[in-house]
């Protein structure tokens, strides 16, 4: 294991520069492009990017496939929304914290059951639990509003150390808040993935049996990976409801879940930043194609098929592909 850790690439200074440039561009974005539609669109990309990144921790690093990771975004969003409506309409941070905590509390027993299996069984279990949450949310009319969704979620002010930075109802402020939180989560995840803990997760992905031979408690580490991914999904859920002011059960459906999986694949799994780019591409594509034609399913389907057939490593694989293309 120690060999695996030392073999890991150290963070190249160029990467830090590139990251800083990207973050600066994103920060300046709402001031350059003042159109609220684009601000909202990029905000949505960031939130789904965070969700896709959390799925990448599970899929790309631990090798566990979750069909319905969006269920945990949904749970986080419902909890934050209900907290803001019923408990404290103005405490944003407390609501976000409640969202993460409750999502984790729900994810724990689910994860405990799920990590007993692996591979396809794990994937199908995520589907079973996801559909269960979806059905419960949909049926619990008095609490969640059922099919109509949760409405009337207040927009609290964003306060840091007693200083009010703005209302979360303002698209630009909300965008900056999302960017800030997504960036922090990204750095945190990057750090965790490039620690011995991350190496253990990758070892499990590569070969579960061998990992257990060197004394790794595979189930426990799988559970850690699962819990971390669900916590991040809970954070993205909190951001989602603050940005959208609304959550309905369709956000938690199996087909929306497969969409999140596609974001990871489009971007390229096992890279953390790839899925964020993938979320961007996916949301842009969905928005763009569905605006262009009524038959958007046809085109989305075609693009996905093409991507899997010809760009299996996703967006991050594009570079390699082009290099090889030139050689040919």
């Amino acid at each position: 294991m120690s060999e695996m850790v030392t073999k890991r690439r150290s963070t190249h200074p160029m990467k830090i520069v590139a990251l800083l440039i990207v973050v600066t561009c994103l920060t300046l974005f709402p001031f350059v492009v003042t159109n609220r539609f684009y601000i909202s669109l990029v905000n949505e990309m960031l939130i789904y990017g965070l969700l896709a990144m959390s799925l990448d921790v599970l899929l790309g690093y631990t090798g566990l496939l979750s069909f319905m990771h969006n269920a945990y975004l949904g749970l986080g969003a419902y909890v934050v929304g209900l907290f803001l409506i019923h408990v404290a309409p103005s405490s944003l941070w407390l609501a976000l914290l409640a969202g993460v905590v409750v999502t984790s509390v729900i994810a724990l027993p689910v994860g405990w059951v799920q990590v007993r299996t692996g591979g396809l069984a794990f994937a199908l279990l995520t589907l079973a639990f996801g559909m269960m949450f979806y059905t419960i949310v949909w049926k619990w009319y008095s609490l969640t509003g059922g099919d109509d969704g949760l409405m009337g979620v207040p927009h609290p002010d964003i306060q840091v150390l007693g200083i009010t930075l703005g209302s979360s109802g303002n698209p630009t402020t909300m965008y900056l808040l999302s960017l800030c939180i997504v960036f922090i989560c990204f750095l945190l995840t990057w750090r965790i993935i490039h620690s011995p803990f991350g190496a253990v997760l990758e070892a499990i992905r590569e070969n579960e049996e061998r990992a257990s031979f060197v004394g790794i408690n595979v189930r426990r580490y799988k559970l850690y990976g699962w819990m971390y991914a669900c916590m991040l999904a809970g954070v993205s859920g909190g951001l989602f409801i603050l940005y959208r002011g609304y959550i309905g059960p369709t956000t938690m459906s199996a087909f929306a879940g497969a969409g999140v999986l596609m974001m990871v694949l489009v971007g390229g799994m096992g890279s953390l930043w790839g899925p964020i780019v993938g979320a961007g591409i996916f949301i842009f594509m969905q928005d763009y194609i569905s605006t262009m034609t009524e038959h958007w399913e046809l085109f989305v389907g075609l693009v996905v098929i093409m991507l899997v057939l010809f760009l299996p490593r996703g967006f991050i694989g594009l570079g390699d592909y082009l290099t090889r293309f030139r050689k040919e």
């Binding site: 159109n35 609220r36 539609f37 684009y38 909202s40 669109l41 949505e44 949909w138 049926k139 009319y141 509003g145 059922g146 099919d147 109509d148 969704g149 409405m151 009337g152 109802g169 698209p171 959208r244 002011g245 609304y246 959550i247 309905g248 369709t250 956000t251 928005d287 763009y288 194609i289 569905s290 605006t291 262009m292 009524e294 958007w296 399913e297 085109f299 075609l302 693009v303 093409m306 057939l309 010809f310 760009l311 592909y321 293309f325 040919e328």
Partner: protein
């Protein structure tokens, strides 16, 4: 080989992204955002709504001396999608008003965000009573509200000897509109001495395909009437399965919403004998209605439906409101819309200045085998009774 593959895929993707709709802007048109479902369970209804709005736009031709441009977006009947589409229409395309919407959930989700969007939003197919006085920018014109159809249905049942003395089994779709419609029917029915078999009525998931369990329940309950509040496209599905089980032989079906004519055709003879309150069907007999029907048929070759008609009336109201306001300022349009009236296929309709919702008359219809008609329809909705707007409500609070 690989090269060829790669070139093809890059071409396809590039092609997909470059096929930008070439919007050559002539004389700075007034853009109107049309939000309808074009995929999912109610796609057919959305298609018809789009037709109705297109027809109104063509009839009107220009607004404030500028051409009208309709920009259509598919909601997929998903509220979050609808909200982002609304944002796209307003912030990116610069639409001055939003119109359309099928499903209360979608309508409420957009209404929730309307202050941010800051454009008038006129729904043509939303029935929830939550819309009364919801927001100064939110209007309902077109479809009757739940409380109105419930009154229409109960009045219709009382006025029809064949329906009056029956016991009703209530079955609704499990979402806001279904719950609301079911509850209102049960309450009103009890007040008027109509017998109900299951006061704690059944709520079937929207995705239900197999109605046999519910039909067995209806049979087991001994009811000889069925009150359904199902999404219009599902009515023929339910009716057909009920017919297979022989329910129609002894029971009558009363529907909270009128079924769409295209779906009725698909359902065939199983759909005969469904009663329902609506504001319009092509059997409504007045010169404006007759002309509208034949224009619609000529243009789209589709049987004119109530969904299309609501949307037409709603769109005419909106366009007239914009003309009356004399500008595209949201507040001015909203002010102009309050109290506006329009004499359309189903008579004079008026948007109340108190609650932003429409007042109009309703008809009780029964589906029957159609007489020879220009639309080649085999089934049609025959008008049994007409109820004037004053009789239908809404509740006193808003009058």
């Amino acid at each position: 080989m690989k090269k060829a593959f790669l070139t093809t895929i890059l071409c396809v993707i590039a092609g997909a992204f470059l096929m930008v709709p070439n919007q050559a802007i002539a004389k700075d048109p007034v853009k109107i955002g049309v939000i309808v479902p074009l995929s999912g369970i109610v796609a057919q209804g959305g298609e018809e709504m789009k037709m109705g709005i297109q027809m109104a736009a063509e009839e009107k031709g220009t607004l404030l001396g500028r051409p009208i441009e309709l920009i259509v977006e598919d909601t997929q009947v998903k509220p979050p999608v609808a909200v982002s589409k609304a944002e796209k229409l307003v912030f990116k395309d610069g639409c001055k008003a939003l119109i359309g919407v099928f499903s209360s959930g979608v309508g409420l989700a957009i209404a929730k965000n309307i202050d941010r969007l800051n454009v008038p939003f006129l729904t043509t197919h939303v029935m929830t009573t939550k819309f009364y006085g919801l927001n100064p920018l939110v209007f309902r014109s077109g479809q009757l509200a739940n409380d109105q159809t419930a009154v229409g249905n109960v009045k219709g049942i009382l006025a029809t000897p064949d329906l009056k003395d029956r016991t009703y089994y209530v079955l609704v779709h499990d979402y806001a509109w279904g719950h609301d419609a079911g509850q209102r029917f049960v309450d009103l029915a009890k007040k008027n001495g109509i017998k109900i078999a299951n006061e704690d009525f059944d709520k079937a998931p929207i995705k239900t395909k197999d109605w046999s369990s519910y039909i067995s329940k209806i049979k087991a309950s001994g009811a000889d009437g069925v009150y359904i509040a199902l999404i219009t496209n599902v009515i023929p599905v339910f009716a057909k399965q009920a017919y297979d089980f022989g329910i129609q032989k002894y029971a009558r079906i009363v529907s909270g919403a009128a079924p769409g004519p295209v779906e009725l055709e698909a359902g065939g003879e199983a759909c005969v004998g469904i009663f329902g309150a609506s504001d319009w069907c092509w059997d409504v007999d007045n010169p404006i209605s007759d002309k509208w029907e034949s224009d619609f048929w000529k243009k789209f070759k589709t049987i004119p439906s109530d969904a299309a008609c609501h949307s037409y009336v709603g769109a005419m109201n909106l366009f007239n409101g914009i003309e009356k306001a004399g500008s595209t300022d949201p507040q001015e349009i909203a002010d102009a819309l309050r109290g506006i009236s329009f004499n359309g296929p189903y008579g004079e309709v008026r948007i109340s200045a108190k609650d932003n919702c429409m007042r109009n008359s309703a008809v009780l219809t029964e589906t029957k085998l159609a007489p020879p008609n220009p639309y080649d329809a085999k089934i049609y909705m025959k008008v049994l009774h007409t109820f004037p707007a004053e009789e239908l409500g809404p509740p006193a609070k808003w009058n």
